[in-house]
């Protein structure tokens, strides 16, 4: 059993409140991702679990044991928690070889000498670094160093792995490869993984559950990947999970129109009828969820720009005075003859529309 439970945890640095009354739990054996923009405090959560930081108030429970409870003056030192941690900058010790790096946790935990070699070899094999055992970190590529860090976190068979943006410093191909490897390893070891990242692709790919963290340090949604992507609870979550168009709308005589110039727009879902009461609200949709055509049904629109980006075509479309982004698969676009030149008019149909309250996150630029 290695549940991780936060009860009303607060933490501030130099007077700045980073976490306030945060409560959540991570279930044993799951891959739990905290996804949020940089500076929102997601790494602080990880560091609190690892024991590098002490909460100001609240309780942190790992398994059956309270590891931090400042009210009782209790905080277990990091070395007593025995968690596997992978850092964003790898933190592979440059003066130790791959094997020495990986064996270190076993030495520190007084594993009998005979077992050390075998177990470290198993961890090295697991991350596909066999043959590199005697190299120093500066003779390894970034991805290989990353894997050394992973092996070092795995070798002690900790129930819990804490991964802090472990893939951010890798190039795109390697990142893709590594995220599957992490998932594979989790299946093999059946450990609980806390994964902290701002990369929604990785989060969606590997998580059993994702917690979306807002810049104010709250979790606005904790759900599985599909729910988080398809049914975001607020505008922030929607925008954070991928390229998004957000158009400010208003309700006029029961008709939904764009707030900027009153051009009629997609009708507000009945489910969201309560939004009509507020002066403005937001219509959100992904660029891929718009169908363009030369003739037929749909809203009248003007093509401002059409760019071929390889496997997709990227458009900038205007309805009335409001512009937004649309994307289509290149193959489909050619088939449907919608490779436009700038200035042509077209029709636009909106497949899937999300409706949100017009909150302050609309103006914020997301990282």
């Amino acid at each position: 059993m290695a549940d991780i439970i936060f009860k009303n945890v607060s933490k501030s640095f130099e007077g700045k409140q980073v976490l306030k009354d945060l409560s959540f739990s991570i279930r044993s054996g799951e891959c739990f991702t905290i996804l949020g923009p940089s500076g929102c405090g997601k790494t602080v959560v990880l560091r609190l679990i690892a024991g590098f930081e002490i909460p100001d108030s609240g309780q942190i429970i790992i398994g059956d044991e309270v590891v931090a409870d400042p009210d009782k003056g209790l905080c277990k030192a990091p070395e007593e928690r025995l968690l596997g941690v992978v850092f964003q900058d790898y933190a592979v010790w440059p003066h130790k070889t791959v094997r020495q790096n990986v064996t270190y946790p076993l030495e520190m935990q007084n594993v009998p000498k005979e077992q050390r070699r075998e177990r470290s070899q198993r961890a090295i094999d697991m991350v596909n670094l066999s043959g590199y055992e005697d190299r120093l970190p500066n003779q390894l590529s970034g991805g290989q160093q990353q894997r050394v860090a992973l092996a070092r976190a795995l070798v002690a068979n900790s129930d819990i792995l804490l991964l802090d943006e472990p893939l951010t410093n890798l190039d795109a191909n390697l990142r893709e490869e590594m995220r599957f490897e992490i998932k594979e390893i989790q299946k093999k070891t059946n450990s609980t993984i806390l994964y902290v990242t701002h990369d929604q692709e990785v989060a969606l790919a590997i998580s059993d559950r994702i917690a979306i963290m807002t810049p104010t340090g709250d979790f606005c949604q904790i759900s599985d990947a599909e729910t988080v992507y398809e049914h975001p609870v607020n505008l922030f979550g929607f925008r954070f999970l991928g390229v998004a168009n957000c158009l400010r709308c208003t309700q006029k005589n029961d008709k939904t129109c764009l707030a900027e110039d009153g051009t009629p727009f997609v009708q507000l879902d009945e489910e969201y009828a309560f939004l009509a009461a507020s002066p403005t609200f937001i219509a959100g949709f992904r660029p891929m969820d718009v169908q363009l055509s030369r003739t037929g049904d749909g809203f009248d629109a003007v093509v401002e720009r059409c760019t071929l980006l390889g496997n997709i075509v990227d458009y900038r479309i205007r309805i009335g005075k409001t512009s937004f982004r649309v994307q289509a698969q290149t193959e489909d676009a050619i088939q449907n003859d919608i490779i436009f030149t700038a200035g042509e008019s077209c029709k636009a149909i909106f497949d899937e529309m999300h409706w949100f309250e017009d909150d302050h996150t609309f103006e914020e630029v997301l990282v």
């Binding site: 690892a50 024991g51 590098f52 930081e53 002490i54 400042p70 003056g73 209790l74 905080c75 277990k76 030192a77 990091p78 070395e79 928690r81 025995l82 968690l83 596997g84 941690v85 850092f87 964003q88 900058d89 933190a91 010790w93 440059p94 003066h95 270190y104 946790p105 520190m108 935990q109 120093l136 860090a149 070092r152 002690a156 804490l162």
Partner: protein, 567 residues
């Protein structure tokens, strides 16, 4: 990160070492400084400003202050000119033999300036200087053409051995300077002369000023050269005045009190200088370090190439080779005053150094004092830097302040503080023992150690330590397994930054030595004062050999060892 006050605190070895090193800093640095100020400004428990003013009004103390300032300003001025000129010549022109010259220009750094002052006194003293006599004979002059035992002489000799401060700073800046800054000026049509004046010079100005202020700081509180060249002629600066007062009165309290007042002035000057330096460095570190080290525009000297090369060689011959050779030759003379003919030479003097108890003791004292000081200060400095760089504890700023404080404390001041602190007032009497020199050296060189260790520690990212903690290593294990191996080069560097200067230390030791605790510097100085010039020179020659050996052989071997143990 690791050191954050843990709620359930275990009192481990790490914490003990931490508290111990803080204690070292307080006891070794803070207490002596406070004692100086207390002694200077309080008499019988009362604030005594009138006494301070009275001391400053005395003609000889006032003159000492004036001399100190004149010497410091003069040395700074000439060091800057010479340092900038040679730095530019070696970094930005096509002068031949650059590499060798660069190495040679570091040699004046190694030479103890008071030993060189001795050599110059032998060569250029007005009455018996060899060169003076030679010139008088050649041109039939009735009196000596050059008098090294004057303010001008002191300034000239100090300049010769302090200019590397400027040279190092400036050549470093010139090498790091983004060459595109100059290239873009060139493309805009500026000539190389204009570029040098309008682009290069303003950009390296902060480095020039930084080096100049270092020279000023050092020269202001310098004891060796003024004492050898000035004392005989009644020219005193503050450190020599303090020494003279204390020495003449046999170490009376009143003399020490006057010393502390003069020392306070030194501290104030030094603090102002360091403040100015910080200001300039903060404002001045603009884009010049932007670029990577690339090949900068090199000025073609054309016809001047070889003449300027010979200027460099001549300069080195005069300032480095001539005094060194003189020391060794004098050390081999049968009697001082004889000419350097083979029949007048003997090895006996050098052998005698190892037979005489006094000189043998001095060598032994210097070697073990500088080794132990360097070792202890290296470790303590590492601990203190660790707290400063890595820990987030309350009251850390006190450590930071105390850590850099010794930087602005001239050796004379530290010696006085140690006399006041360690003469039984607090129950420990180290006066006249090697112990007092030991604590004084620690105080004097702590800043070097902290600087070198801090620089190394800053390179070790926090996550390397945290990774070790999460692997199950305690704080102490992390320190020993991860931190120390990673900062070892910085620690070795700290060791040598302390060991080598301590080996030839004079300013502090001369106020602290007892009958059996002379150091090499003190012994050379004392022999020279007693008129035993030949023996003094022989000992100086041996000191030079030891220093040279330490600087090149040991350091090189260790660097090699460090490299091989890493790969």
């Amino acid at each position: 990160m690791n050191g954050r006050p843990r709620l359930k605190k275990k009192f481990g070895v790490a914490e003990i070492v931490l508290i111990f090193s803080i204690l070292i800093l307080v006891v070794v640095v803070a207490v002596p400084v406070i004692m100086i100020f207390l002694t200077a400004f309080f008499k019988d428990g009362h604030f005594n400003l009138a006494g301070v003013i009275q001391v400053l009004k005395q003609k000889d103390t006032y003159m000492a202050l004036k001399n100190s300032l004149i010497i410091a300003l003069g040395v700074t001025f000439f060091s800057t000119i010479i340092g900038v000129f040679f730095a530019w010549l070696l970094a930005r022109t096509d002068i031949p033999g650059k590499k060798a010259l660069n190495a040679m220009f570091m040699v004046p750094f190694m030479l103890p300036s008071f030993i060189c002052a001795m050599a110059w006194k032998v060569l250029l003293s007005p009455r018996s200087g060899y060169i003076n006599k030679l010139l008088m004979g050649m041109f039939g002059l009735s009196h000596a053409p050059i008098d090294i035992m004057s303010m001008g002489g002191i300034i000239a000799i100090e300049t010769m051995y302090l200019f590397p401060f400027v040279f190092l700073q400036v050549s470093g800046a010139l090498e790091r300077m983004d060459p595109t800054l100059e290239e873009s000026a060139r493309i805009s049509g500026a000539s190389l002369g204009t570029i040098t004046r309008k682009i290069t010079l303003p950009l390296v100005m902060p480095s020039i000023v930084a080096g100049a202020l270092l020279v000023c700081l050092y020269s202001l509180a310098h004891f060796g050269v003024p004492s050898i060249l000035g004392t005989e002629k009644g020219i005193y600066n503050i450190p020599t005045k303090i020494y003279e007062r204390i020495y003449a009165s046999g170490g009376s309290y009143e003399a020490i009190r006057v010393g502390t007042i003069l020392a306070t002035i030194l501290v104030i000057c030094a603090t102002l200088i360091l403040k100015a330096q910080n200001l300039i460095l903060k404002n001045g570190r603009f884009q010049i370090i932007a670029g990577k080290s690339m090949r900068p525009v090199v000025m073609k000297l054309r016809g001047l190439r070889w003449p300027l090369f010979f200027v460099c060689v001549l300069y080195l011959l005069i300032t480095v080779v001539m005094p060194t050779v003189t020391i060794f030759l004098i050390g081999g003379l049968k009697t001082y005053g004889l000419s350097f003919a083979p029949r007048n030479m003997t090895w006996a003097n050098y052998l005698e150094i190892f037979q005489l108890k006094m000189t043998r003791n001095a060598i032994w004292n210097s070697v073990y004092l500088s080794t132990s000081t360097a070792f202890v200060t290296m470790l303590a400095g590492m601990m203190i830097s660790y707290v400063i760089v890595k820990m987030k504890v309350k009251g850390k700023f006190i450590l930071e302040f105390l850590g850099v404080l010794p930087y602005s404390l001239p050796g004379t001041v530290i010696a006085l503080g140690c006399i006041l602190t360690w003469s039984g007032r607090f129950g420990i009497n180290l006066y006249n023992t090697a112990g007092i020199i030991f604590v004084a050296y620690i105080a004097r060189y702590m800043a070097f150690s902290i600087k070198s260790n801090s620089a190394a520690l800053e390179q070790v990212s926090d996550s390397l330590e945290e990774a070790s903690r999460s692997c199950g290593a305690t704080h102490w294990q992390t320190l020993m397994n991860i931190v120390v191996p990673l900062i070892r080069p910085g620690m070795i560097n700290a060791f040598f930054l302390i060991f080598l200067p301590a080996l030839r230390e004079l300013t502090t030791s001369v106020l602290l030595y007892g009958p059996t605790t002379r150091t090499i510097g003190v012994a050379i100085y004392a022999l020279n004062e007693d008129g035993e010039t030949v023996r003094a020179a022989a000992l100086a020659g041996i000191a030079l050999i030891i220093i040279f050996f330490g600087e090149t052989v040991i350091k090189g071997a260790l660097a090699k060892f460090d490299k091989t143990s890493r790969s």
